[in-house]
């Protein structure tokens, strides 16, 4: 079993400013939250089966 895939996220660039309708923003946030839940859960599962296979979950930074 492989660890969860964690691609690069959204660009954090001060020059990027957009108008996104509320419903779409909410959808993006839902998907982002679900991505973390699934990825962290999968890493925990892999670490349960084979200790220290996946990096520990990132601490709450920023």
């Amino acid at each position: 079993m492989a660890c969860a895939e964690r691609p690069a996220g959204l660009p954090e660039d001060a020059s990027l400013i957009a108008q996104i309708p509320t419903a779409i923003r909410a959808g993006i946030i839902r998907m982002a939250r679900a991505f973390r839940v699934n990825a962290d859960g999968k890493d925990r599962l892999v670490n349960w089966l084979a200790a220290d296979s996946c990096p520990a979950p990132a601490k709450a930074t920023r």
Partner: protein, 155 residues
């Protein structure tokens, strides 16, 4: 009267000696019968024990009989002790592994939950700001990355 009996017996001295010897012989014979019965019984039991342990008592040769069997039984005892020890060791190791694994998993779960809740709070603030300005800016994008647990692409 005693004297009369003694004098009479003196004539039969040889017969008396024979009687005494015969008595002693009979007594020894009885003792020997008992000893032999005991010995046969003991050997028989030893044969049974050996057969149960999986090796024949062996050989009619009295010098070597039971040797194989004794060696085999000693081996069994050693095996038993070794197996017990190994089992205890494996069991203790499994227990320790399981407990360490649970501790680690709980820790990972706690860390993940803490990170997720911190990101969620930040996301709420950023989204309220985006809603107010009707604009999505760097802070909002960073908050989304935080919620997803992702890093921004390095250009």
């Amino acid at each position: 009267m005693i004297r009369a009996i003694l004098s009479k017996l003196r004539g039969e001295a040889a017969f008396l000696v024979l009687l005494a010897v015969a008595g002693a012989g009979a007594w020894l014979y009885v003792l020997f019968q008992q000893v032999r019965a005991d010995r046969d019984d003991a050997v028989h039991r030893a044969e049974i024990v050996c057969a149960r342990s999986g090796v024949e008592w062996g050989a009619t040769d009295t010098a070597v009989r039971g040797v194989l069997c004794a060696r085999h039984v000693a081996g069994l005892v050693a095996f038993r002790a070794d197996a017990d020890q190994q089992t205890a060791r494996l069991f203790a190791k499994a227990m320790a592994d399981a407990s360490a694994r649970t501790v680690k998993d709980n820790q990972a779960a706690r860390l993940a939950a803490e990170a997720a809740s911190a990101a969620a709070i930040r996301m709420e603030t950023a989204d309220a700001e985006a809603e107010r300005r009707n604009l999505v800016d760097r802070e909002w994008l960073a908050a989304v990355n935080g919620v997803a647990g992702l890093r921004p692409p390095t250009r």
